[in-house]
């Protein structure tokens, strides 16, 4: 066979999707001719080089170093422990939808920065997670959400199942189909359409309180039903006792990341230029990623290399410690250049002290690539202003994950400081 034809066939194979007749023709050559096999490997060499080279270029972007493993334990634990070369062997993987993803966080401090990067990238690191402080809300792919208050140690083991070793969790199942079971060292709590809290204390005692709806509690041998307003403590032997004080305690945790949308009145909006027309004096945007499109809407685009391109505005607030700050925005994923994979929108509130230092923050991930295109979707985050707040920075971000494509349009930004309770 002439080299031109052979090269064409080899390239067809390397590109994937070869027609059956052509494959048969190529295989006949390769089986019978050593020269053709040599030419195959010679031609493949550039292909291999390109794949390796461009994959490494991608891997150099920090977001990609923490991709998920398909066999997280067997592979990464073995290699990392045995060789301390985890980064070298970090094979980038195509990412399936995680069992649960971080949907909101308030001053969350994780055990290590890699965990935080992975979670903020929309992925779930394998194994138990340690939240040192703050609160984090996870959206389970089964439909439930859980707000975890640190310090806590927990593990997401299924799309509707959380192992809680220490710390406090508020489980919420807004939709009927959503289910959530929280497993502790001494009890198992399954929601029956509800909002409920579960805590594991230092003495390994489990406390359960039902804020709304009902749950099924399995502790010791008998499953029992707990209704709204009921709370019990389960000791290490499975014995139970009433724990009424838990209702108030969990209601406080629930308020850190409220489930409901808070209404926002235009008059109370502290943001200047809510139409986002002035991108030089009032609003700030990541250069090269934030612009106004032909229709006058602000667009944040991935354009490669960036993890979190953003649009922001600083708002002087004076002393507002103890007041709830509620930020909201509408986002839309356009038909042309929509989000990909685990990209999503983030709304964030950053608290700055008088010296302009960032010292507290809260954020919510709210529009994912699976959301309908061409439709405005509202994102809101509420946080209590800590003592020392002098300014609040309102931010909207595209969680771009270093990808080359993906963009979001934004409108109707608002930042409201609520009256003190």
């Amino acid at each position: 066979m002439n080299d031109l034809r052979l090269d064409h066939l080899i390239d067809q194979h390397l590109d994937g999707g070869m027609a059956a007749e052509e494959r048969a023709e190529l295989e006949a050559c390769l089986r019978h001719s050593a020269a053709d096999r040599a030419r195959f490997w010679d031609r493949a060499e550039t292909h291999i080089l390109l794949r390796e080279g461009l994959q490494r270029l991608t891997a150099e972007a920090p977001a990609k170093k923490v991709r998920r493993w398909r066999r997280p334990f067997a592979w990464s634990a073995a290699v990392a422990a045995a060789l301390l070369l985890a980064v070298l062997v970090a094979l980038p993987r195509r990412v399936p939808e995680p069992l649960a993803s971080l949907s909101a966080a308030t001053d969350a401090r994780w055990s290590d920065p890699n965990v935080e990067l992975t979670l903020r990238g929309g992925e779930l690191p394998p194994g138990p997670l340690r939240l040192e402080a703050g609160a984090a809300e996870f959206a389970f792919s089964g439909g439930a959400t859980a707000v975890i208050e640190g310090p806590a140690v927990f593990e997401v083991v299924a799309a509707d199942r959380l192992l809680l070793r220490a710390g406090r969790v508020i489980g919420r199942c807004a939709k009927d189909a959503a289910k959530l079971t929280i497993v502790t060292p001494t009890a198992q709590v399954t929601d029956l359409g509800t909002e409920f809290g579960v805590a594991v204390d230092a003495d390994r005692q489990t406390r359960v309180a039902v804020i709304r709806g009902a749950v099924q509690l399995v502790a010791g041998e008998q499953p029992r039903r707990l209704n709204a307003g009921q709370a019990v403590a389960v000791d290490v032997r499975g014995g139970t006792a009433p724990a009424a004080e838990m209702i108030a305690e969990f209601s406080k945790v629930a308020a850190i990341l409220p489930a409901e949308e808070l209404p926002v009145h235009d008059a109370a909006n502290r943001l200047l230029d809510p139409a986002i027309t002035d991108l030089t004096h009032v609003w700030n945007g990541t250069v090269g990623h934030v612009e106004r499109n032909a229709a006058g809407r602000v667009r944040i685009s991935a354009n490669g290399s960036r993890l979190w391109p953003l649009l922001w505005q600083d708002v002087p607030t004076g002393a507002i410690a103890g007041h709830a700050v509620v930020a909201a925005v509408q986002a839309l994923q356009p038909d042309e250049d929509p989000l990909r994979g685990l990209q999503n929108a983030i709304i964030k509130v950053v608290f700055l002290d008088a010296a302009g230092r960032e010292f507290a923050r809260a954020e919510r991930h709210f529009l994912r690539s699976s959301a309908p295109r061409g439709q405005w979707i509202r994102g809101q985050i509420a946080a209590i202003a800590p003592a020392g707040t002098a300014r609040v920075q309102f931010q909207v971000l595209l969680n771009a994950r270093g990808l080359k494509t993906g963009s979001l349009l934004f409108k109707d930004p608002s930042l409201v400081v609520m009256e003190a309770p």
Binding site: L14, L30, R37, W41, L50, V89
Partner: protein, 172 residues
Amino acid sequence: MSNDPQQQVLQLFVRHQARIKGFIVALTGDFALAEDVLQETFLVVQQKASAFVLDSNFLAWAFQIARFQVLAAQARRARAVAGFSPETIEALAASAPQENFDEAKLALLPGCLEKLAPQARRIVDLFYQDEHKPGEIARRLNWTPAAVSVALSRARTFLRQCIERQRSGESP
């Protein structure tokens, strides 16, 4: 280097990973499948590490394992997606290059990539980095799949020549 033979085998795997991956990529013609097969291969290498005789040919041993994993992965997949037959894979595996992956060539790649025409560069990125199939790239660029394949072929030929030229230019 560790004294534990099993760890030495794992270190050998890490050192030769790029070459093993290339072997799998070429045999499968499918990046996603190749990543799966590479992980499976690592797991088997790890399990069988004690069976490997140190100082014998590690790559030949690893290729043998990878070859079986390619066949197993192809068998698991939908029948519609054909791959090479076991005989062809065996013949190719026996003639696969066993020298170390050429990091020097890799270092020359970025400079040569910059010399590609913008559209060719875009296609190379979409294919090798973003793992889009030629059909998908064609749809995005409003080209025909055949035109995308030709562009990829030309880009490979150009890059290969560019790297060879730079290399011969460097050495006296």
